[in-house]
Amino acid sequence: MSTIVLQLFIAGRTPRTERAIATLQQLITDRLGDYPCELVIIDVITDPQQAEERQIFATPTLIKESPLPQRRIIGDLADTEGLLTALNLPPVSMS
């Protein structure tokens, strides 16, 4: 079973980013608890190199690295159900 890898690009710690992080953590705990899951948080202010390498144009940006296909979404990350649909999670082959 391959690990679900999520990368969240944020710009500093604001109430909005805190809310996005909390939603993702809740999503992982409540809805993806049966899967190996990894959430990486990258702050583009402190790590601009990563932002450039990954061609990040806006924050917050959430990238589902794996399983493929890769998925990249931008905006209000505050709806767990909508996020699961947008990210095609949980993966059909893993469920």
């Binding site: 583009v44 061609q55 144009f57 806006a58 990249r72 931008i74 905006g75 709806d79 909508g82 947008a86």
Partner: protein, 398 residues
């Protein structure tokens, strides 16, 4: 403006695509069309400016799919130079080149944020000014609801029975607070309510009232003032100022004036006695009434003795008042009058002695004690003057 034709358009879509392209090209908002994978298909000039990137560097790149809870999301755009700007993002599902796509509309929020920041600064500045005032100030909306209160207002509420600011803090209705008031000032309530409403409706430019607001152990007076709130929102600014000190001061001045008038009457009586005396005796009983002559200047040591004796009597009188007793000061007062008579003292000397004694006694004393010195001193000075007049009259008749 560039475009990646990663999927050839069909003949049916071509017309719609052309119209959409025209809209995107002419929009003052930043517009980006992304395909189903979130890759940039179209980007307009405004979006290029917002992202500080040329279209050639954006087309085909993974921008991402918009994810919204409502109609609009606030995001940060990461410019090519590493700078971040706040932007509002809206999105719509469309068909582009015959395939599902998303139209992303971006609007720069930098100016809006700057204005909001300026407004916040201005509000913070106004609040700081209000909080630096000792007046208790609250702002009411047109329904009488308190929408803002300064630190002094809150502090007064906390110290006077509303520690949680439940009934007198922000959100409470001030008209209702006044209407249900049951303390000393309740007799003023109809006047206050009427005054506030008249100011609110523009019938009065200002409403002011002085009212008592006694605490269990202190007499207090306040000055209330209601002025209209100028600006787009209708409302009132209410201020309450503690004027107890001013009231006390004004009362003390009135007391001093009364005393002065009564002493002047005694002085006239004394002068009349002196006149009779002059006619009957070779020497004047009272000292010569030169403008610069007084016991204080002519004989400072004797004057100081008189002050000390007068102060002792005053102290006894005030102490007796504290224990609700009738002060037994008659004999020492009569004795002091005799002593003053022997020094040929005049009414002016009594007044000077009285004032000097009040000054020395009141220094460092509590407000209540100062008040007691004033009241007892008035009686004592009159009594002393009466005995002095009697002394001279007896001398005359001897």
């Amino acid at each position: 403006m560039e475009e990646t034709n990663y999927q050839p358009p069909t003949a049916i879509d071509a017309d719609a695509d052309a119209r959409l392209q025209a809209v995107v090209n002419t929009s003052l908002d930043g517009m980006i069309i992304v395909d189903d994978d979130g890759r940039v298909c179209v980007v307009n000039a405004t979006a290029e400016v917002l992202l500080r990137r040329k279209a050639s560097n954006l087309l085909g790149q993974p921008f991402g799919l918009p994810f919204m809870v409502g109609e609009v999301a606030e995001i940060s755009l990461l410019q090519a130079n590493g700078a971040l700007i706040a932007a509002e993002m809206r999105a719509a599902s469309i068909t582009w080149m015959g395939a599902p796509a998303q139209l992303i509309v971006l609007r720069d929020l930098t100016e809006q944020h700057r204005i909001q920041e300026t407004l916040r600064d201005a509000e913070g500045f106004s609040r700081a000014i209000l909080n630096s005032l000792s007046h208790h100030i609250a702002v009411l909306d047109e329904n009488g609801t308190i929408v803002m209160a300064n630190d002094a207002w809150r502090q007064f509420a906390v110290e006077n029975g509303d520690p949680q600011l439940l009934t007198t803090g922000v959100g409470a209705n001030y008209f209702s607070i006044c209407a249900t008031s049951s303390s000393d000032e309740s007799v003023e309530v109809p006047t206050v309510l009427d005054g506030m409403r008249r100011v609110l409706h523009g019938d009065l430019p200002i409403f002011e009232l002085e009212y008592p607001c006694n605490s269990p152990d202190t007499e207090r007076w306040f000055h209330m003032r209601a002025v209209p709130l100028y600006g787009q929102r209708r409302g009132l600014v209410i201020s309450h100022t503690d004027i107890t000190e001013q009231r006390r001061h004004a009362w003390a001045i009135a007391e001093a004036e009364t005393l002065r008038e009564q002493l002047q009457a005694r002085e006239r009586e004394l002068l009349a006695v002196s006149a009779i005396s002059s006619a009957q005796r070779a020497r004047s009983i009272a000292r010569p009434q030169r403008a610069d002559s007084s016991l204080r200047t002519d004989n400072p040591d004797t004057f100081q003795i008189c002050i000390n004796r007068y102060s002792d009597i005053l102290e006894k009188a005030v102490d007796a008042r504290g224990f609700a007793l009738v002060p037994d000061v008659d004999l020492p007062t009569r004795t002091l009058a005799t002593y003053l008579g022997q020094q040929h003292a005049a009414a002016r000397d009594v007044v000077e002695m009285h004032l000097a004694s009040l000054r020395s006694r009141s220094f460092g004393a509590s407000l209540e004690r100062q008040q007691a010195y004033l009241e007892e001193g008035r009686v004592l000075a009159l009594q002393l003057m009466g005995y002095l007049v009697a002394y001279y009259r007896d001398e005359v008749t001897l």
